[in-house]
Symmetry: C5
Subunit: 250 residues, 5 copies
């Protein structure tokens, strides 16, 4: 099959900057500087990231037809939910069509599925359609394969997530890592030709985070999609340099 990942890899590795937190977590993740999408896009380019993850609105108003468009490829996140309904079984609705993502300049689309949620069926159906449209338009389909809240530390779910990504035809899956190497390694093996990137998660101290990244790269991940662990730091380029060397070997 066509290699839809070509635009996003360097030395076969992936280094993505994620910035959909304003939707998922609300404003509490941001400070004065990093609430500004331009600051982030600038960081993405300067930091040598190989892709940036945005929701449609920021892509349309800050990326499309901007100088950034030629400098860093876009992964358009098609679904999202707020954190205002945490007691509900998670389902994250599609707010952007694959066709619109293409118009906004994206070369890949992303979708989150929550394994174990009562809405699994609806989510598999959603992603099934997205994956087909994406490949039809020659875009990569990336699956955020997350456990539903409460199952984060279950090695069975980590492994399951790896395999689901492959079975559903994702080109990349973004997986959470709760520190248990064995299950993460097996998830990668189970994912086969579907590539795995680490979901960066909440901010850790620098050393810890670098250790985590180093671990998952050794376990076979092709890279990381990082957000808070970069742009919540005073000088985000510092850790970015270290991560880039670690991941892209460049």
């Amino acid at each position: 099959m066509k290699n839809y990942l070509f635009p996003f890899l360097k030395n076969e590795k992936a280094f993505f900057l994620a910035y959909d937190h304003g939707f998922e977590h609300g404003p509490s993740d941001f400070n004065e500087k990093n609430l500004d999408p331009e600051y982030i896009l600038d960081l993405a380019v300067k930091g040598g990231f190989t892709g940036i993850v945005l929701q449609k609105g920021i892509a349309e108003k800050y990326y499309l037809n901007s100088p950034y468009q030629k400098k860093i490829p876009l992964i358009l996140k098609l679904n999202g939910k707020t954190n205002l309904l945490l007691d509900e079984e998670p389902y994250s609705a599609i707010n952007c069509s694959v066709e619109y993502a293409k118009k906004l300049g994206a070369q890949a689309v992303g979708y989150t599925v929550y394994l174990g949620s009562k809405f699994e069926a609806k989510m598999f159906e959603d992603f099934g359609q997205i994956q087909e449209k994406a490949h039809h338009l020659e875009m990569a389909a990336i699956l955020w394969a997350y456990p539903k809240p409460g199952l984060e530390n279950d090695p069975k779910i980590t492994k399951y997530a790896g395999r689901i990504g492959l079975e559903l035809g994702a080109d990349i899956i973004k997986l959470k890592y709760f520190g248990e190497k064995e299950s993460f390694k097996q998830a990668i093996e189970l994912a086969g030709r579907t590539k795995v990137v680490l979901s960066g998660g909440q901010k850790l101290d620098e050393e810890n985070f670098l250790t985590v990244v180093s671990e998952v790269m050794k376990l076979g991940a092709i890279g990381v999609a990082v957000g808070r662990n970069v742009w919540q730091r005073e000088n985000p380029l510092e850790i970015t340099e270290k991560l880039r060397k670690l991941i892209l070997k460049d």
Copy 2:
């Protein structure tokens, strides 16, 4: 991206007259004069408003092909609900398509989302589709980003609403202000290139309302969408003059 707001701004500011209350609140908001859409349209033109908000029926019967059409641009509100089901989680269904809004002469469309409602997913999906069709037809997409009942005075929600507007690709968001400056200011910052207008809300005494408008303009709002605070007054043009000067500097 294209500036879909061009028809609605004067000196980069927005001064909208809202008149969808007959749907949302029922007839209790009206008196003998202001229940007549012609009275309101006349007021909108005489008062120098830069846009008028109507539901489809009034647009079709009073605005389309009328002299008003050349004098004031139309924002067609696509969804609405009555106040007869206040115990239910709020969801406001679409009763007008974007295409029909275009036929009725609208240059922008509006949609209300209730943050925190159990129907968030459905509403994000609805607005996602509306936003894409609107831009495809070269119309602005305006989001009424409201807290669900009970969350009106939560600064977290105000800020969240600002960001959601940006993430979902709204060109303008209409926000409620409960008097706390800090959160409203941050909402505007979080909204970035998505512009913010104040939701006028229920009738206050004139001085109070002018103070509120003055405050939000200083905080960075580009204007106001006002209804009851204008057309529920004996002489609505009086306060309109004051508001226009305050907002449009004209």
Copy 3:
């Protein structure tokens, strides 16, 4: 806008014969004579009615391509429900498309909404789509704007119904009248350019019914949609003559 009501008015007034009771109430409304659609169609023509209301089946088998088609215009009722589920929140599903109504010779379509029902959102969405298709095909859109069971005598709902008809773009609304003049008059004012016809309701003695009709005409209704009060009488043409003079002044 185009005057979609032209085929249905005489001296600007409306005199409709309604005959969808076999669906809504079951056979209990009928006797040996009036269960026959031909009897009713004959009555409609002889009585000088300006429109007849039918469900699709009767329209297809008794009206389309019959001599009646040239003599009386058809309002095709698009939704309906039985009275077998009275404990449920009311929702009445669409069983006929606007396009099919057109093929059956209809020049208007009708749809019932139950204000206060938990299915309001679905009904507003349904009617929104019907109204657009109807106007696209140059047909009038008529809204049966009824309170849900239990709210029949609430003046607030009567008034709300009038306004909802206008806001949703109905050309005519059919309203119930529970005998309180003030709220019915205000409903008509609130409906503005959307015309109001009385829903005839269950059979009253002749004098009472004529008084009711006389009252609503003075309050500003443009006519009446009557069924049982005409065809449940031994000699329906008698009251029909009186109603026609009262309403059409002819």
Copy 4:
């Protein structure tokens, strides 16, 4: 309107062989011989039936392009349900499109509605669409108008079913008869130009069944759709001869 029933009538009467029991009741209705669709098709031809009722699978594998296709017209039953969920409110989903029925050689389609079921709205909507597509493709639309379990012996429902068939635009309705002549007669009158056939029901002794058929024919039914009362007998052609004479007068 076009006479869609032409292919199915002889001397204006209808004599249908029904064979969808494998779906509705499971295998318990069958024996070694009658479980074979060829046995049934053969019987249909030899017995002089004027139509055969099949689900899509049997039509596709045994009827289409077989010698039977020229000898007996097909009524394709579009929906069906098993008897494994008898505690649920009945709803029977569509498993075959009208277009596919046409491809399979059908000249009519059938659909079951359960009056009084909580899913009435969905079923009226389903049948509404089926009826329109059927007539567009010049096929008859036949409605199985059944009471929901528990209401079988309610004369009100029998009569209602007759009328619903007419109102919804069915060309034929298949009605149950619980032995009360008056309500069945009225159902037929209420159905007007929509024709009524008896639903044969479970196997009775021969004399009883012939009496029932004789009764409903006198009450105005145009025929019968019979299954078990024919093919559950040792020598089905015997009763078939008697029924054919009784019904088709031939």
Copy 5:
């Protein structure tokens, strides 16, 4: 009708290798070797299987445009669910369209229905549409006709499943066998021209499994869809040889 099964049969018998367990059961079914789709595809070719069952992702990344595509025909399983929600009534959503299956090189599609599940109606509707699209694209439609959990050992359900396959128009049904010969034999008879293959199920000791296969072949099955009973063995080609001789007589 066209023989859609032609590509999948040898001596009129079917010998399918199933490999969708990573979706349905998660990774627990796999070991180091058999988690690799290439290992399985290799086995499928070397073992002389007449078809392989895959979900879309593995088909797209390992089969399409690979050397395997010319050596073994593909059955694309269109729906799937995880085992994380076993307390829920089973419903397995579609994640791949029939059209996409065709693009991936499939000549047949598969779909699972759970008899007795509260979602029966939805599943019959799903399969109804799949079956029509599949035949339109000249592909076979295969139905996994399974009892819902708890009904596995009910002979009534086994028989019902056989008939449902025929009534719904499946070309092959995959049935479970719980060891009772009579019901399995009757299921095959009830399925008529719809062919039956055994669902291999969990790993048994070799002798037991060969006995089971031998039994069902004598009862009239045309073959088996086997997964764990082959690829969970140390040397899967050993049992494969025996099965192939038993089933394909070759």
